[in-house]
Amino acid sequence: MQSFLTKRAISSGVSLLLLIVAVFFLSRLTGDPTDLYLPVDASAEARENFRELHGLNDPLIVQFGHYVADLVRLDFGESIRRARPALEVVIEAFVWTFQLAVITMAIVSAAAVSLGALAAFHVGGAFDRIATFFSLIGASAPDFWIAIVAIVVFAVGFGWVPTSGTGTVWHWILPIGVLFIRPFGLILQVVRGSMISALGSAYVKTARAKGVTPKKTIFVHALRNAMLPVITVIGDQAAALLNGAVIVETIFGFPGVGKLMIDSILQRDFSVVLAAIMVTALAIFLMNILIDLAYAALDPRIRY
């Protein structure tokens, strides 16, 4: 166990390092922030001065050296656009994204696992058909479409919730509601599929034959064995949310890391992009370790 954690910490550190190197060099292939920062009429002299000021004239490898040297001192660089430390900007945004992701995934997992298991227990039954149908429709409708319709109906039409923004608990309802739909459909389908296989397998049949109640069959025997792929999918969906829900954040004016990331990418504000990736990657690596531990907890045959 101890050695597993140490190993994972080391290998995650290696992944993180690889990620930094890849992002640093690849992102700089997308052009120079100078043209985007200065007005189009700016003189060549002003451009040159800007490049010099932000070290953009140095060879890429030298820039990378500076960056790593700063990083060792936990200095993540300055945001060119915001003239503030990049890490500060990112953490401000990540706190919002983290809360949104945790709340959404908690609700989604609870709902999808219980309903998916129920659907699997009566394959082809009315409940199964309805659950499958609606989860599929939900999973295949564009989220910006759902978001705008939700605002038009619930905020403008009924006036039940604010259109967008932050401030009160009511502001969270629409973003979470829209974010809920897609992972819910996906996880529900995986739960259902995995449960069908598990319910058909020998040990569940044995359990049934031995007279274990159907409820217990579902929730103790089958579900436990069906959880492995489910946890994987939940992890993937949570990772996607931790990376930021760009569309939802954009439409609802939610100050999360996804919107920050896309803005910074489009403006070539590289320090912010790198800091954002490191923060979200760290969160995702931590979560993946938790998921692997969960595998082991659920299935004693898996060991590390």
């Binding site: 599929l136 295949s140 996906l186 994987t232």
Partner: protein
């Protein structure tokens, strides 16, 4: 659009697997409808761009946002006109070509690469088993939008490059799912029995392990079809995806979005096309899971008898 031909199952071919499959399909009327719809979409994707390209790109500013269900302007305008007055029906048919190409390309490529890597990672107890999952971590943490900007900035925003971007970003999901399942299956009795009996690694993977994980992979792949179409739409929405004059359903939804309250049909029909296609694929995959699983097949056989 769906019920044009509730055709009889062809019975002329030699009796065998094919007939059995068709009979099983016929037993599930919902799956049959889905299959027919998918065939129509594939037909549109192949023939549409050839037949209707001229009609679908001819702008008519003075007839923009023409409402749907008005036959006076011709059959192609039955779904209404878009923001440039072009017939939406023709555009949806033409766009199916790119849409299906992008979605199929991305899903198939990521599934093949992802599940192969996952198999190796799950089965190998050596260093590869440690390294490959980290690769998935790196890809998962690499923001897909940045990847899209990098690829589309250096190469052009063409269909092929969109497939590349989407395929790379979807690899981890197959990789991780496959690895997780393999980790479990390789400990099972029959795999260990096969190992003891001296079966080659290739045989164990392809004959014993693959069939066990394929149903899960297919479920994910069909759902991913929807995801990829929507991701492509989101890229267009953010301005880094496929751009006009190319068309895809996702692009049409993104371009019609501002008109949601004034001319809903602009984004509704292409959105519906995405939903119906993915719905059909998912219903088909659900049917397939049952039909291909010997322990589940009785459900269809009973259903068939009831209906027949």
């Amino acid at each position: 659009m769906t019920e044009t031909q509730t055709e009889a199952v062809p019975k002329t071919k030699e009796p065998g697997k094919f007939i059995t499959i068709l009979r099983l399909l016929w037993a599930d009327k919902v799956a049959t409808t889905a299959a027919i719809f998918v065939l129509i979409v594939i037909g549109c994707a192949i023939l549409g761009p050839i037949l209707l390209d001229g009609v679908a790109t001819k702008a008519n500013l003075r007839g923009r946002n023409a409402p749907p269900f008005d036959l006076s302007k011709g059959f192609l305008m039955i779904l209404g006109g878009d923001q440039l007055g072009r017939p939406l029906l023709a555009r949806i048919i033409v766009a199916s070509g790119n849409t299906i190409a992008v979605a199929t390309g991305a899903v198939v490529a990521s599934m093949i690469v992802g599940s192969s890597l996952g198999l190796i990672a799950g089965y190998s107890r050596g260093r590869l088993g440690q390294v490959i999952p980290r690769l998935a971590d790196v890809i998962m943490s690499f923001p897909s939008l940045l990847l899209a900007v990098i690829v589309l900035y250096m190469l052009a925003p063409s269909v092929g490059n969109i497939v590349l971007v989407l395929a790379i970003t979807r690899i981890p999901i197959y990789l991780r799912t496959t690895r997780a399942e393999v980790l479990e299956i390789r400990e099972r009795m029959f795999v260990q029995a096969a190992q003891v009996m001296g079966a080659s690694t290739g045989r164990i993977i392809f004959r014993h392990i693959m069939p066990m994980i394929l149903p899960t992979l297919l479920t994910i792949a069909t759902l991913d079809f929807a995801f990829v179409m929507l991701a492509e739409s989101s890229l267009s929405f953010l301005g880094i995806g496929i751009q006009p004059p190319e068309i895809t359903w996702g692009l049409m939804v993104a371009q019609g979005r501002p008109y949601l309250t004034s001319a809903w049909w602009l984004s509704f029909w292409p959105g519906l096309a995405i939903i119906l296609t993915t719905l059909s694929l998912n219903l088909l995959s659900n049917w397939m899971r049952v039909a291909l699983d010997p322990t589940q097949r009785w459900r269809l056989e009973i259903g068939g008898k009831k209906n027949g």
